[in-house]
Symmetry: C2
Subunit: 415 residues, 2 copies
């Protein structure tokens, strides 16, 4: 993959140039890129039409075509996104934990850019714009590798960005697109140690697993969410119904939607009929264990695999548990470590749940749908980390940075 090495070398040069830009200069690029998107929306739409035609010929599913399709509104939305990023505080430059050691050395950690960030994603051309904007604001050069279905849209978008960047006199290689969309190019990108500092996959479970399995570059694993809501015996029933309906049905296709409902046996007879009725009004299919079926009619059997499935659909697995211990054990066994919620009025049980559940986001009495960078007030999000290294939960600009130690001496040597 000679092309990739060249892209890598260019990124190493670009990251040094980018590292010297002020916040104002980075924001200027973002704003100019936003304007360029609006000014050139027709060019991008035209490229997108080619992608859509190819996609239809290739028989892509309707949902993929939906994600692939751009419109004037969507492109303007991408531009709005870049302007939002320009308004966010610059994460770079903050110095933390600065202190003077007994020998007089002054030591602190400065927040600095990662350097080069790689993003691998699927047929969502808007990710091209988001990823560019977030990496730029975080001070890192971006190497983007989108799905082959969106290649024409991505090329058009990047070309618009590069022109805007060049016109401001900056290095256009602060963002680069890998135009070779073969599987080999993706695999080669995952081995670009020495060029790429971190690789972030954005997409479905298959893509993420492929990156985790094959990458020798450090990876931040994002996304898969088999999320649980546990309704404890002391739960407020109205609140619990609202939360599970929202967590399941407000937007079922996203990673922070609930997939399994666990119900304490002492509240099941009261709670389940109300909850299932409300869920069915939202067209949610219920799959339950024996105890659930004994309380509610027309429930399909939940098989073992249901407990482990991220449906991303209007389906909910439901199980009655003896107590909080069984709930915690079940979640520990099946969760992907994304978001879990307890609905309870018990002080002791809520504290136990917060303590013992080992997930990125643990909720008391609120919908799991809030696990999101914008909801958490970050202003932007590159993804939701389900690993424990570096970042866990929603990742904003800060999570796209690293630190380095600065040490100020006056001749200290080690004894």
């Amino acid at each position: 993959m000679n092309g990739l090495k060249e892209i890598g070398e260019k990124a190493l040069v670009a990251k040094r140039a980018l590292g010297k830009l002020t916040t104002g200069e980075k924001n200027e690029i973002l704003l100019k890129a936003a304007k360029a998107l609006r000014d050139n929306y027709e060019v991008i739409l035209k490229a997108n039409e080619t992608d859509l035609e190819n996609g239809k010929k290739a028989g892509l599913k309707g949902s993929i075509i939906d994600r692939l399709a751009l419109s004037k509104d969507r492109i303007y939305g991408m531009a709005d996104g870049l302007e939002q990023i320009a308004k966010l505080p610059d994460p770079i430059g903050e110095v933390i934990n600065m202190k003077t050691l007994p020998n007089g050395l002054i030591v602190g950690q400065k927040r600095v850019p990662m350097g080069v960030i790689g993003i691998i994603y699927e047929a969502r051309p808007n990710v091209t714009s988001d990823a560019f904007g977030l990496c730029l604001k975080a001070g890192s050069a971006a190497i983007l590798r989108g799905g082959k279905e969106a290649i024409n849209s991505n090329k058009a978008t990047i070309s618009v960005f590069k022109k805007a960047i060049s016109e401001l006199g900056a290095d256009e290689n602060i963002v680069q697109l890998i135009e070779d969309t073969s599987r080999e190019s993706a695999t080669a990108m995952m081995k670009m140690n020495g060029y790429i500092d971190v690789l972030i996959p954005r997409g479905g479970a298959g893509l993420i697993q492929s990156v985790v399995q094959n990458s020798t570059v450090p990876v931040i694993e994002t996304g898969v969410g088999n999320c649980h809501v546990f309704v404890d015996e002391s739960a407020d029933i109205d609140m619990a119904v609202n939360i599970i309906v929202n967590a399941k049905a407000q937007r079922p296709g996203v990673c922070n939607a609930a997939e399994t409902l666990l119900v304490h046996e002492n509240i099941a007879e009261k709670f389940l009929p109300v909850a299932v009725k409300a869920l069915r009004e939202k067209n949610v299919e219920i799959r339950g264990d024996k105890a659930v079926k004994a309380i509610v009619n027309d429930v399909k059997d939940a098989a073992e695999e249901d407990w482990a499935t991220e449906y991303l659909d209007y389906i909910l697995a439901v199980k009655v548990v003896k107590n909080i211990d069984e709930a915690i054990d079940h979640i520990t066994k099946y969760s992907t470590g994304h978001s879990e919620c307890i609905v309870s009025e018990s002080y002791t049980n809520t504290q136990r749940f917060l303590q013992e559940i080992d997930s990125a986001a643990v909720y008391v009495n609120a919908s799991t749908r809030f696990t999101d960078g914008n909801e958490f007030g970050f202003g932007a999000e590159i993804g939701i980390s389900t690993q424990k290294l570096h970042a866990r939960g929603p990742m904003g600009l800060k999570e796209l940075t690293t630190t380095k130690y600065l040490i100020y001496g006056n001749g200290q040597i080690r004894e």
Copy 2:
């Protein structure tokens, strides 16, 4: 590797038990383990003798035999180390960035254990004790895989620990040793996703690269240090000589020792004769470029590969540079991103060096030898990260932890 799956399952159980221990209980285990080391030093020494005999038969190098050899003093030193760890503040439980969102949700990040930490290391039986202590205090179960040369010492040490842990009624599987020291077991350990949350290699460049190349579990890359000292034209010559002698010769076999000296051309004629004399008094061999050889006698030629070599020995590569730009370019090209130092009285140049050098630790006017968890005041160190993800620079207890979001609601759902 059925054995490994069993070890993984036991670790998953042990981490939950460990997560419920108080700081006092964890410290009690550390202190009892320290006492047990002292009480049983003869048992461990006997096992170590077997390792030493096997090692000599296998023709191991003297330096490896040195590292492998235990003594009563060394074992007591391991016990002291555990007692030190018991005295350190517990990193677990701190809640940071807690705030109330506009919708009333209260969101904060709690510092929590990683879960299960894997450590792969070579023939240093003291790492067995250090790693156990640090992982335990950080609340994580440890799976250790030491080099085959130290297997008997490691088994004896772990057996002493397990007995001490059991006697306190805790789960002895909070520390486990992989006794199969085949290459296959190491590779299999690197694929224990779902069991091991992070894998830390401790050892030489070969081991670290093998882990980086083969692991699908997230890795923290530690250690390789091709460290630079740049003596700027405005440097105080005495200070610069002291720093390079200390950085190179105080302990050349460690990763924070200097390997290349860069000297500004305007100070080279004054500085180099004094510096080389002082370095030669410490038996340091000088390998220089043409400009160096024109100033100092009996200097070997530095070849291209010298600039990229971590000697870990009494050898120093020396180069004369035109200015700080050439120094920064050279370091950017050859550094492994560990520790670099500028010796200078120029405000502008020291600021540029701190800003533009992309390494874990960047020094002004001090020896690179300070890049160390103990020197930085962490009280303990598991290694020095040269990657940008999660931790960069010396890693103490905090770097062995992760965070999770806690969200307190009162019925919030997403609109």
